[in-house]
């Protein structure tokens, strides 16, 4: 059996399969690199940059950088975690993230990343943008205040549901999530409760109505264990790294 190629992640060898990215190989080997817009079931997108690592001296998004033999990847450094903290802080300051009144609290990737990275304050001036909610659908609520533009719902709706319900529109600070209906109302799309797009929102934008507090705050996913542990538990693991 031929030995798999490896690269170096924070001074330790990580084996990989051809076609894997640095982030995929790291997770498969049980090594956590903080990330937000990456989801193991979708093509990497590289939009949030939380997984930025130093690859052979250059800053690269670990989710889109192909693993290749012998590259030297630094991730767990104070410099990179400072950068990640700043990215998370900017996302908090740019939207309206009122955790105490958010029903996704405890299940929210942005919040859990903040906990894990030790973010105690957004630091920046909060922008308090005006982003009305869309409550037009009888069973589904869209709260755009929390959108971090990860495009996971866009990818899920296009690639799995085949519906194209969501898209991003505008540029720069005006970029925002829209729905594919002439009225711009979710009620006029063909979204359904069992769509993949309903599952993937990492924050609290796409919500099923009337189930918000079925699991109490304090007993939710990231209340139980930090996101670093949860991400490794979820990742497809290489046979030699399975317990």
């Amino acid at each position: 059996m031929s030995k798999r190629p490896t690269f170096i992640l924070d001074d330790q060898e990580v084996p990989f399969e051809p076609g894997q990215t640095v982030l995929q190989a790291a997770l498969a080997a049980g090594r956590y690199i903080p990330h937000l817009c990456y989801h193991p079931e979708f093509r990497p997108h590289g939009s949030c940059k939380v997984c930025t690592a130093r690859v052979d001296g250059r800053m690269m998004a670990a989710c889109t950088t192909p693993a290749s033999p012998g590259i030297n990847v630094e991730s767990e450094t104070e410099e990179l975690n400072d950068l990640r903290r700043m990215l998370v802080q900017m996302l908090f300051a740019e939207g309206n993230h009122f955790c105490p009144s958010c029903e996704a609290s405890g299940n929210c990737v942005l919040q859990a990343l903040g906990y894990d990275l030790g973010v105690l304050t957004a630091g920046f001036r909060h922008m308090f943008p005006v982003r009305p909610v869309d409550a037009s659908h009888p069973d589904i609520l869209l709260d755009f205040n929390r959108c971090v533009l990860c495009e996971l719902c866009v990818r899920a709706s296009n690639e799995v549901d085949g519906k194209g319900v969501f898209a991003l529109s505008g540029r720069g600070i005006d970029k925002h999530l829209v729905v594919n209906a002439e009225s711009n109302q979710l009620a006029d799309t063909d979204i359904a409760l069992d769509d993949k797009a309903m599952e993937v929102c990492p924050v609290g934008v796409i919500l099923k109505k009337r189930v918000g507090f079925a699991v109490p705050i304090g007993e939710r996913r990231y209340d139980r264990a930090p996101i670093s542990a949860q991400a490794l538990a979820d990742a497809p693991r290489s046979p030699e790294h399975k317990k």
Binding site: F98, C99, C102, G106, D116, T121, A225
Partner: protein
């Protein structure tokens, strides 16, 4: 002959645009208040009812900044406290009061005082003793320099205890998983 006991640290606390939930959480450290009181002495605080902040080692502030009086109190704390701590979601992010920030303040006041059915003959209060509301609610760090932040709505008693014991012992406070909470 035994050495003199170490000087107690002076601590001031106040609530700006807050609900006193963070002060309740401070009290919720329960019997640990006794060893804490061996090491600190309260200056201005709702617990002492002292009206102005003297020279202090630590100032702990809950609530955001929503009116002119909040600005004055915050500046007095900053001028007098060696270390300023923003405690709770409102002080750290603006919190619940900041949910009015994307609305027009005048329309908010009209809605509350002129169109609410139970106040159908009401008017917007304009007594000169009432502090002038600010157009927006601000977290503390947008007004003065803040040294430490304890997020949470409110932070748990354990988070406050862990933070204070670290700070009093001269260690850099660190809140790990389970103690950092934004809700």
């Amino acid at each position: 002959m035994s050495a003199a006991p170490p000087r107690k640290l002076k601590v001031a606390t106040t609530s700006l645009a807050g609900c006193f939930g963070c002060h309740m959480s401070l009290l919720d450290i329960d019997e640990r208040l006794f060893p804490l009181l061996d090491k600190i002495q309260f200056d201005r605080s709702p617990l002492t009812d002292i009206k102005h902040c003297g020279k202090c080692d630590i100032g702990i502030i809950e609530g955001g900044v929503c009116n002119a009086e909040n600005v004055r109190v915050l500046q007095e704390f900053r001028a007098n406290c060696r270390i300023l701590v923003a405690i709770g979601a409102c002080a750290v992010t603006g919190g619940l009061p900041a949910q009015r920030n994307h609305l027009d303040l005048g329309l908010c006041l009209q809605e509350v005082y002129e169109t609410e059915p139970s106040l159908s003959k009401g008017c917007i209060p304009d007594d000169p003793e009432l502090p002038l509301p600010l157009d927006k609610v601000h977290p503390l760090h947008e007004v003065v320099k803040v040294d430490y932040f304890i997020p949470g709505c409110p932070p748990s008693a354990d988070a406050i205890w862990s933070f204070l014991t670290d700070l009093i012992a001269g260690r850099t406070p660190r809140l790990g998983h389970g103690l950092i909470s934004y809700d």
